[in-house]
Symmetry: C2
Subunit: 217 residues, 2 copies
């Protein structure tokens, strides 16, 4: 049996709650039915002990026995090797899920993260910089829309690729970025309607709410 | 033996030459000494035949027999499964290389691509949008610098993670983005000084130069 521990922050301020990336890992673990523990690292002090596991000073990381892995994409591929509920075991299905793992992160999130950060920080929208950011996301969604209109899940059956793509898209959706992409919106609703997402989301919210209490907030 | 074909554009205008992402795949194939063919897809017409292999209308993709894979990260992990010159075969080394594959693409390129595109398009630098983009890259480089100062290659031995990280960093380096990151600059020089990079780069330049001739340019 794998010996899995997910490490996330001990606390975060309210805005990112429900979106901290440990959610991707919780979601995958719940889908697979794999047993795991959750441990915390200080949000306020990202010292050498943190950087030894996650050199960019972020979360999450996962330990599997004496192996420690950072980057949600790498963690989900590792978990995919432990359960065919997360990654098809045949070579063709595995390649298809893997390409969409990168598609979610390096093609779609590459465009959606600057877009959602610009929205969150209320950058002016009459600039060349905003037009580039907005056009970039629109181009990706234009290509993704027919893909998601034609299939239920990216690699045929549900996989870690869907966890990543849905988690990326729901952030843009929260800023109304999917208004012209009905198939993308339906896909986000389909994915986040799964019981494992609900459990992962509730567990993350409870984790940070408990941290408020510990801080006397 | 694997039956590998790398597909790239038949032609691109001069500015991206030397940076088209088929270079990452050529580099990996040359490092591994794997035999491969190169085929072309029209740059000017990205129709259904292209989108069936690469749904975002980009390049490269790789075919391995009847398996077709897009996203340079997914392609390099696939090639890593064919050669331990590209990916360590022990679980711990494999996990370490894989997390740095995602680190290169989803942590560093996520920050460097908006930065280099803003530089390339000469967006004004007195805006909140530019400050966000510039601070984002600086934060990532600040964390990466001690990592690369302390080791020759990301996963101990050279791996696909280094191909991706070096290819990401050299674009920022071209716009003087590594001026305050001497270990990052030394790492780019170390990686791009490898014979397999030189071969991959020369082959890409020759491929597009031949296309100019075919077009009578």
């Amino acid at each position: 049996m794998p010996n899995l521990t997910l490490i996330t922050y001990d606390w975060v301020p309210p805005p990112p709650r429900g979106y901290v990336r440990d959610l991707r890992v919780r979601w995958a673990l719940e889908e697979a039915g794999l047993p795991y523990r959750v441990a915390s690292t200080p949000f306020d002090d990202r010292g050498p002990a943190h950087l030894a596991h996650q050199p960019f000073g972020q979360v999450p990381w996962l330990t599997d026995g004496d192996i420690s892995i950072f980057e949600s994409g790498a963690i989900l591929l590792h978990l995919g090797g432990l359960s065919d509920r997360l990654l098809p075991s045949d070579p063709r299905g595995r390649a298809e899920a893997t390409e969409w793992v990168f598609g979610a992160l390096n093609s779609v999130e590459m465009a959606s993260l600057p877009w959602t950060m610009s929205k969150f920080m209320k950058h002016p929208s009459d600039t060349a910089a905003w037009k580039f950011v907005d056009d970039f996301l629109k181009l990706r969604l234009m290509r993704l829309e027919p893909v998601l209109a034609a299939r239920e899940w990216l690699a045929g059956t549900f996989s870690v690729a869907d966890i990543l793509m849905a988690d990326v898209l729901r952030v843009a959706d929260g800023f109304d970025g999917l208004a012209d992409s009905p198939a993308c919106r339906a896909y986000v609703a389909r994915a986040t309607g799964r019981p494992a997402f609900a459990k992962a989301h509730a567990d993350q919210m409870a984790h940070f709410a408990a941290a408020d209490k510990a801080r006397g907030m």
